[in-house]
């Protein structure tokens, strides 16, 4: 390999690999791998949401089972790769066809996605202004209505940040599913390394990164649409909340009761 300019050669061959139409079609083409990758990711995210969202809302709303949040956070320390092989060895023999790979991979991805989702949802509900919650009950909302109409919408910024963290990790980690024989963009990476096809391996890595960035942008847009502009701080915040003292002073001036003929307020 030539000294100097080697990097440029790699990048050049990477792009020509991606640009080659032959690498896009077919069951092992980029397009199909991309769809497989999305399928694993979406499947894992949906399952994780179904588990973590209600659980997080329940913990935040009732204040019970808080230890679960701590426990799942601690579980993040378990190495994903080891977990993947463990589940594949344990569950693989009793499952048929693709399921033998899909189920262990999905379980691992769900386990990865649940902690940030759970923590975000729980923290979001927990952080709702106690006065707003008290008022919600006081005006006659049922427990369900308090959750649905006040706690969930107010928790959304933190819920969504949990979703974004989880989605990013799932998309990135779905790559290793290829190690136990599943498809996805990881296939390009793993096969590329195995067969010494480095442009293909690099293309796989690059595509995963691009996918993650696109997804992040999409979720940011979704958050902007979902979160009320009234919830200040971060995305979609109301344009500069007025200084409280100024507003109070302006109000005082506007409403100062003018006594008879303008002399200091008349006693009545």
């Amino acid at each position: 390999m030539a000294r100097g300019g080697g990097g440029a050669v790699v990048i050049g061959s990477l792009f020509s690999w991606i640009a080659d139409p032959a690498h896009w079609s077919g069951s092992d083409g980029i397009l199909n791998r991309l769809l497989e990758h999305l399928w694993y990711s979406v499947l894992a995210m949906v399952l994780a949401l179904v588990i973590a969202l209600p659980l997080g809302l329940y913990i935040g709303h009732t204040g019970r089972l808080r230890w679960l949040v701590t426990a799942t956070n601690a579980a993040r320390a378990v190495p994903t790769l080891g977990l993947l092989f463990a589940f594949a060895l344990w569950l693989g023999p009793s499952l048929r066809g693709d399921l033998a790979f899909l189920v262990p991979a999905t379980i691992v991805l769900v386990l990865l996605a649940v902690p940030p989702l759970l923590a975000g949802t729980y923290a979001g509900v927990e952080a709702v202004d106690p006065a707003a919650r008290d008022a919600a009950r006081g005006v006659g909302m049922t427990g369900w209505q308090v959750l649905r109409q006040v706690e969930l919408p107010c928790a959304l910024p933190l819920v969504m940040s949990g979703v974004r963290t989880a989605a990013l990790q799932v998309v990135a980690t779905a790559t290793i599913a290829a190690l136990i024989g599943l498809g996805g963009l990881g296939r390009l990476l793993v096969d590329g390394i195995a067969f010494g096809d480095y442009p293909q391996a690099a293309a796989g890595a690059l595509l995963v990164a691009v996918l993650a960035v696109l997804l992040e942008g999409l979720l940011a847009l979704l958050q902007r649409r979902l979160v009320s502009p009234g919830l200040g701080g971060g995305r979609g915040a109301v344009g500069g909340s007025r200084n409280d003292d100024d507003a109070a002073a302006a109000e005082a001036n506007a409403r100062m009761p003018v006594g008879p003929g303008g002399m200091a307020g008349g006693n009545s």
Binding site: D134, G230, V238, P260, G261, M263
Partner: protein, 379 residues
């Protein structure tokens, strides 16, 4: 009418917050619960809409035991205002106000119209309707809180220190407007505060509670100031109570003297010590010392504005304060339209005070003696 019947609240840790409270809040009146922290006033209030359940005793609303009513339904029929307003941050001002109507199943248009009407009613600019709570000042948020409580026109309102988190000037305005609103609406209100001055100002009747949730005295404010039931109440209603009691005494016919005046922008035709400056409609503007301005026309900058103005049909406190605060020692008295009627001297107000009757003390029942009488058909 809200009636507490031997109500006790004991929390799981053993603390007794409210101890055998019996009290009636008459229809259409403001009943203020006041006392130091730990006296159970907020707990008592929150038991009315069952945010807290009593341990013993019962609370009835117009004769119906609240303990047997559906919780959510009970609360939707009671206006609820709390200290920090507790507005929903993700909803606009109008949507906040429309909360209870929506819960009751009103349609969008009707709710919207009603919310706009209330926005105006509590003295807020209509363009604030589309703002979010974080964009409002504390005083404005509190107004929205009151509007939200009034939205479905409930006959009963519970107010838990609604004005204590805003600065004193705004608080004073909110109190005045609240009284004006209550004059129009005539709600049955239970109002909690730790501020005895606020209690005296707002209450048709004031219930003083002591630590441990025991009712020390319930009475009309003037009675409370005149006849505290014991040392605790006397201490709590505080100093200056003789002076403060004057605000409940209508001014009798005072010996008013006519005052020489000068219209703003004209030359004084007298070299009296102090001359009252008025506008074209004879509304008093302030005092001026003719010798200081050396014979030229009176300008706005010459005015001494320290004196307060009393209304002829106002209270003795107003009349006395006008006399005491006037640089000329002559208190300015005006009619309903704000036009000058005459002036009065402090000693003349004091003589009038000496001629008034104080509220009679009820010897039989020092605790409930001065309470607002409940009409027979209500009881």
């Amino acid at each position: 009418m809200i009636r507490f019947d031997g109500v006790t609240k004991q929390f799981p840790d053993g603390t007794v917050a409210v101890d055998d409270l019996s009290l009636t809040a008459p229809t259409g009146k403001i009943t203020v619960l006041v006392g130091p922290s730990g006296c159970g006033k907020t707990t008592s209030l929150r038991m009315v809409n069952r945010m807290i359940e009593p341990t013993r005793g019962s609370i009835s609303l117009d004769g119906q035991d609240t303990g047997r009513m559906d919780q959510a339904e009970l609360r939707r029929g009671i206006g609820y205002v709390i200290q920090h307003a507790g507005l929903f941050p993700h909803r606009t001002v109008l949507d906040n106000i429309g909360t209870v109507p929506r819960l009751l199943g009103w349609d969008r248009t009707k709710t919207r119209d009603r919310s706009r009407e209330l926005l105006e009613r509590v003295g807020l600019d209509p363009h604030l309707g589309d703002r979010y709570p974080a964009q409002l000042s504390g005083g404005q948020q509190q107004r929205v809180g009151v509007a939200r409580a009034l939205a479905a026109d409930p006959p009963v309102m519970l107010m838990d220190e609604p004005f204590s988190a805003v600065d004193p000037i705004v608080r004073d305005q909110l109190q005045d407007e609240f009284l004006r609103l209550q004059d129009e609406l005539g709600k049955t209100i239970v109002f909690v505060t730790h501020d005895i001055d606020e209690a005296i100002k707002l209450g048709d009747q004031v219930a003083v509670l002591r630590v441990g949730g025991v009712l020390a005295q319930v009475a009309e404010p003037s009675y409370l100031l005149a006849h505290p039931a014991d040392d605790f109440v006397a201490d709590f209603v505080g100093r200056d109570r003789g002076y403060r009691a004057l605000q409940f005494q209508a001014t009798p016919r005072l010996p008013l003297r006519s005052e020489r005046t000068v219209v703003l922008g004209e030359r004084p035709d007298s070299d009296a010590g102090w001359l009252l400056v008025v506008d074209d409609d004879r509304h008093p503007l302030g005092w001026v010392e003719p010798r200081r301005i050396g014979g030229r026309a009176v300008e706005d900058a010459d005015l001494h504005r320290g004196g307060t103005v009393a209304r002829a049909d106002g209270t003795l406190r107003g009349a006395l304060d006008a006399a005491l605060s006037s640089p000329a020692r002559r208190g300015v008295v005006v009619d309903d339209s704000g036009a000058l009627v005459g002036t009065v001297l402090a000693h003349e107000v004091l003589s009038a005070i000496e001629d008034t009757d104080r509220p009679e003390r009820d010897e039989d029942d020092p605790v409930h003696g001065g309470a607002v009488a409940v009409a027979a058909d209500e009881a």
